[in-house]
């Protein structure tokens, strides 16, 4: 015969009396530190310090040490010149343009590229983007993420941001998928599974796929536009919270509380960190590399067949009118559907040629972040959401891009920079 609720509680009390030893518990130093990190007054400065450390490590490890220190030299001074000298065909040959270097026109003369961002061949940009830039960014991100996770700081950060995220119908736990998505959107979307209601999952997946750039994209952005990173993140954070608030108001459903385990602080083990790092980075590379190579090939083919110029001419007035960006932005937007990092790389090529103003670069980078999830995330959204929710996500995404992109342009006009 099943027990009633009251009988169950009675039983629990009896068992706990026999098994649990009660007494005064004295706080340890670890407990006291744990308390400090969840109270807003002390926890927020600590969170700022942790995020400062996170970001500084990321920039110096991925940018200063590996990409700028070794990879740019390896690819631009050795790999690219070597390929340019040995690959058959030479400048102007379609196959050579696809695989090594499409070159660019200067005063009516086709000139060879001097860096892998501009070359845009499968063997040049196709290798430089994932191995020269992205790998180190992802490695740095997942290393710090694993340390914070294993120390036990992430659940505390979740408690800390709980109040803010409640305003947009989510709760503190949402910080975990958001953080994960900063490495790669795919584990971020997967991490929404513990969310209890369809509404919360729908909101979280939509916000992640629109406003959270992945580690690969951040790595390339940091390499190309380091001076704009603060503004880009601020714009994305405002979008995340603003559109989250609106979605919470219009999407039907409940946002119930979630009980989260906050473990004590622990010393992370090298073995665990190493294993997590290996699993996450290798999975990431397996997904990323084929898409980057395919993206280079498709964008290269579109340039060669003239499709890109046609699209730029057709969509140019629309892009210029609504977002204030030149028609040439259409090529990164197409590349972005395959890989966002590759798209920022294409944008880098345009920047090198001085086609855009600083504000246009800023708008284009933000648009690239928000305009569409990459193909892998898109496929996962299809799997994780019902058809109705998926169409809802895409519709929200289109509205967000048009409204937010237009708003950014409007702010630029009002400030006199657009």
């Amino acid at each position: 015969m099943p027990l009633s609720v009251d009988e169950r509680w009675d039983l629990i009390e009896k068992i706990s009396k026999q098994t649990v030893e009660f007494g005064a518990y004295k706080h340890t130093l670890k407990d006291a530190i744990a308390e400090l990190t969840v109270k807003p007054l002390t926890g927020i400065p600590v969170a700022i310090a942790v995020l400062y450390g996170f970001w500084s490590f990321f920039i110096d490890f991925a940018g200063t040490l590996f990409t700028d220190g070794f990879m740019v030299r390896l690819f631009d001074e050795h790999w690219l010149p070597w390929l340019q000298s040995v690959f058959p065909g030479g400048l102007g040959n379609p196959f050579y343009a696809l695989m090594v270097d499409a070159g660019h026109w200067e005063n009516g003369v086709l000139v060879a590229s001097d860096n892998c961002f501009e070359a845009f061949g499968v063997l040049t940009s196709g290798f430089f983007v994932p191995f020269g830039v992205v790998l180190w960014a992802v490695l740095a991100f997942y290393l710090v993420f694993a340390i914070l996770e294993d120390i036990g700081y992430l659940p505390r950060l979740a408690v800390l941001v709980d109040t803010v995220l409640h305003k947009i119908g989510l709760h503190g736990y949402a910080i975990v998928p958001t953080f994960l998505a900063l490495g790669c959107n795919i584990p971020g979307v997967t991490a929404t599974r513990p969310l209890e209601t369809r509404k919360q999952r729908f909101m979280m997946i939509t916000l992640l796929s629109v406003f959270v750039p992945c580690g690969a994209q951040i790595g390339i952005m940091q390499d190309l536009v380091p001076e704009l990173m603060g503004w880009i993140f601020l714009t994305l954070a405002i979008g995340y919270l603003g559109f989250g608030f609106i979605l919470n108001k219009i999407v039907p459903g409940r946002s119930p509380e979630i009980i989260m385990d906050v473990p004590p602080y622990r010393m992370p083990t090298l073995r665990n960190i190493g294993r997590k790092l290996w699993i996450r980075t290798s999975r990431f590379l397996l997904v990323a590399v084929p898409f980057v190579l395919l993206g280079c090939l498709i964008v290269g083919l579109m340039y060669l067949t003239g499709a890109m110029d046609w699209l730029a001419t057709v969509l140019g007035p629309f892009l210029m009118g609504l977002f204030g960006v030149p028609g040439e932005t259409v090529s990164p937007l197409i590349a972005g559907f395959l890989r966002k990092d590759l798209a920022v790389g294409v944008l880098g090529g345009l920047m090198e040629r001085g086609i855009m103003t600083t504000f246009q670069v800023f708008t284009s980078v933000v648009l690239l972040c928000i305009y569409f999830p990459c193909l892998a995330t898109f496929a996962l959204m299809l799997k994780e959401e019902s058809w109705k929710e998926f169409i809802g996500s895409i519709a929200s995404l289109v509205v967000m891009v048009l409204v937010y992109g237009g708003l950014i342009h409007l702010v630029g006009i009002m400030l006199g920079v657009a």
Binding site: H27, T28, L29, E35, L36, V46, I48, Y52, S56
Partner: protein, 155 residues
Amino acid sequence: MNEVEEKFGQIYFAVLGAIALVFGVAELIASAGEGFTWGILDSSGAADPMFLPWRAIILISVGFFYLSSVRNFAEIHQLAKAVMASIMIWIVAGMAIWSRIAGSIPGEETWFNSLEGFLASYAPPYCPEMFLLPFSLVIVYYIMKEKEARMTGQK
């Protein structure tokens, strides 16, 4: 921790907190303009100006954490504030050191830096957090003392 140790801790961390606060305010003012370099003290944010205001906010918080820990210093929650302040200094100073290490390994024209270039990367000026770093390590003594007291059952 005995009375002398507690008294010493109170005075020491009050002074350290006040210095951290002064440095933090100076960095905040510096972040509004071009920053400054004064002898071996660098608050110019030359490497990345975006970081300077955040560093200032952290340093001001460190100052407040230390100062608020002084009263009843031996109590575990008060001591935790001083420990947290020290950890925050370790994070910022640790990243400043890491930044120098990362910049010192690759060379300008060659794959690896020369010995002179490598050593020159560690030359002054230094950011305020790096000056505070050795002084913040005193907290390790108090952590050990607290652990010792717990082990011997005095707490």
